[in-house]
């Protein structure tokens, strides 16, 4: 059926993009990108501002559809009508850079956004959402302060707390593939450490993740494989085992200057 699902080989990638391009008017954000995430794998995505990282994950998530010619595979199956609702129903959750919260709404509404719980009459089960939200907040977000209640509106929370809501939301739905877009931005040291621990816990739970960050020191220790994007193209793919952090940094500098990953001999 597909090349990736070759018989006898290990399981097909959870998610695969082939020859994906995305153009906005005159601007080409992605140009012929091939990208895959394997089961139980944490894939890092590095690149400068405007390299196409956020566009790439919005294609993975179904928010943007790729230009014609691009193909999306989920567990080796070609998918055509890819949308956010479809992606989420198949177990892909994202912690967006812009957090994707509705700030005037209470925490519980944000936690269950687009996935509201319903009772057997088809009506919203508000009590269950409040209770579950309260439980998640104390278990996963470690909220003990008297200031945070499921009915509090998000606008009253700090940046780290808001990020906590966004991460807990992704975690709650037992996603098979979690995408984290610059999750450590604006976080304190201890909050950053917590976030990185969370990324590791995804792999321990047998799930996959895509981890996007500016900061190579955050990305390198937790990922299995690394994609480097530059001006909408994949400039290089590395297994962490094959490259040291110093070598990687050297190559990244080289990319920034020349647009090519290959070091001159």
């Amino acid at each position: 059926m597909t090349q990736s699902a070759s018989p006898g080989a290990e399981a097909p990638p959870v998610m695969e993009l082939r020859n994906v391009s995305k153009t906005f008017g005159e601007v080409r954000s992605l140009a012929g990108v091939d990208f895959q995430v394997n089961p139980r794998e944490i894939v890092g995505l590095l690149g400068d501002n405007g390299a196409g990282k956020s566009t790439l994950i919005k294609v993975v998530m179904g928010f943007y559809s790729p230009d014609s010619g691009g193909e999306i595979y989920f567990h080796g199956m070609r998918v055509h009508d890819w949308s956010v609702a479809r992606a989420r129903s198949l177990g892909i959750e994202t912690v967006y850079q812009e957090r994707a919260l509705c700030e005037k709404q209470p925490i519980w509404r944000n936690m269950f956004m687009g996935r509201e719980l319903r009772n057997r009459f088809g009506l919203l089960d508000v009590a269950a959402m409040r209770n579950e939200c309260s439980r998640l907040m104390s278990e996963h977000m470690g909220f003990t302060s008297a200031a945070v209640h499921p009915d509090n509106v998000v606008a009253t929370m700090s940046g780290g707390e808001k990020q906590g809501v966004a991460i807990t939301r992704a975690l709650h739905f037992e996603a098979e593939l979690v995408i984290l877009d610059e999750p450590t931005m604006g976080l304190s040291l201890s909050e950053t450490k917590k976030t990185l621990d969370f990324v590791r816990s995804i792999k321990a739970a047998g799930k996959s993740a895509i981890f996007i960050d500016h900061n190579i020191f955050n990305i390198y220790p937790v990922v299995d494989r690394l994609y480097v994007l530059d001006r909408g193209k994949v400039a290089g793919v590395f297994n962490r085992a094959d490259i040291t952090m110093d070598q990687l940094i050297e190559r990244l500098y080289h990319v920034a200057r020349t647009g090519s990953m290959e070091l001159p001999s």
Binding site: M61, F63, S83, V84, A85, A87, R88, T94, Y96, E98, R99, A100, L101, C102, E103, K104, Q105, R109, F112, M113, G114, R115, E116, R118, G122, L123, L124, V126, N131, S134, R135, M137, S138, F143, T144, S145, A146, A147, V148, H149, P150, D151, N152, V153, A155, T156, M157, S158, G159
Partner: protein
């Protein structure tokens, strides 16, 4: 389950809910304003306002615009506005008259045709706003003239008598008091309950809040923002037709100008009711209470012996003051958001 809940409660998680004032402040404010105004009217015109007749009059006339205000609340929460509903009131009622009075069809067929007219008007508004991304403030002024024009052409500018002899069922449903209670208010209470459930206990209602608060976030989380808005406009269309029929049966006559003059009361009810002009927050209960306050202003000003021209002044003032207050509150929330506290 209960053990777990108890653990949550005792396990260092002592978060207090936000105070009642924060959560219901605007609703309590409206009730306070309403009460103060009632006192003022009682002092200004004690004979009128201690008599039950004036309250029966409110209860008959307020729902004629209050019911559509309940639905308009949904559209305003999504961050849009619909100014075309007065014309939809007329167009839907005109279709009812064409089908039953001129076409000779039974009353229920007329009701179905009128309801479908409301759906069609809402779909058109919703399509223009949500699918073509045209600002609703502008395009619904356009459709207001479009629907009114269509109605005037269809009826050739003439009215239709809606007497009890010809429409007994319609009068039973929409005009005769039930156990002495004005049926218009019973309809409004019924529709309030249905729409409260729709807004607060369905996914559609949850998405109405999300789309109005932050459309991009809602879409990133898989909410179909366009469809949510279209549904809200359809809701206004259908209830506008209902209000058109209700007010025409109330006056025993369909005037081609039906709906004219309901724009100001309706919008004032929504904004006075605490629904934010910026979208994302609002309440149908607030709109319900505010509609009766607006209805009382109308009757109060007239019976207090003040020139009726002052009613328009009062409604204008209500809209301006409540929107200004919302702006100030919204700014405060944004400042809180920046500082984190």
């Amino acid at each position: 389950m209960t053990e777990e809940a108890a653990a949550v409660r005792t396990g260092g998680h002592k978060a207090a809910p936000p105070s009642l004032l924060t959560r219901y402040g605007s609703q309590m404010g409206i009730v306070g304003v309403g009460f103060a105004m009632w006192l003022a009217f009682v002092i200004a015109a004690p004979r009128v306002f201690t008599d039950v007749d004036i309250y029966l009059a409110f209860a008959e006339t307020t729902p004629l615009f209050g019911i559509v205000a309940l639905s308009l609340t949904f559209v305003v929460i999504t961050g849009e506005i619909d100014l075309s509903f007065p014309s939809v009131m007329a167009l839907g009622t005109a279709i009812f008259c064409l089908v039953t009075y001129y076409g000779g069809a039974p009353w229920w067929l007329g009701l179905i045709a009128a309801g479908l007219t409301g759906v069609a008007c809402g779909l058109l508004n919703g399509f223009l706003v949500a699918s073509l991304n045209i600002p609703s403030l502008v395009i619904t002024i356009g459709t207001q003239f479009l629907f009114r024009g269509l109605e005037l052409v269809l009826m050739n500018g003439t009215g239709v008598p809606l007497l009890v002899d010809k429409y007994p069922q319609m009068h039973t449903l929409l005009r005769e008091p039930l156990f002495g209670v004005p049926v218009q208010t019973l309809w409004m209470i019924g529709i309030l309950i249905v729409e409260w459930l729709l807004l607060n206990r369905t996914r559609f209602g949850a998405h109405v809040f999300l789309v109005g608060d932050n459309q991009t976030s809602a879409r990133l989380m898989g909410v179909n923002a366009g469809r949510v808005k279209i549904k809200a406009f359809v809701l206004v269309g259908v209830t506008a037709v209902f209000c058109g029929l209700l007010s025409s049966i109330y006056g025993y006559y369909f005037w081609p100008s039906t709906g004219d003059g309901s724009l100001l009361n309706t919008i004032a009810s929504v904004f006075l009711g605490g629904t934010s002009v910026f979208g994302g927050t609002g309440s149908v209960i607030g709109t319900f209470v505010a509609a009766f306050i607006i209805g009382a202003i109308n009757a109060g000003i007239v019976s207090a012996g003040v020139n009726a021209f002052y009613t328009q002044l009062a409604f204008g003032l209500v809209i301006v003051v409540s929107v200004v207050l919302q702006t100030l509150i919204d700014r405060r929330i944004r400042r809180q958001s920046l500082t984190g506290k």
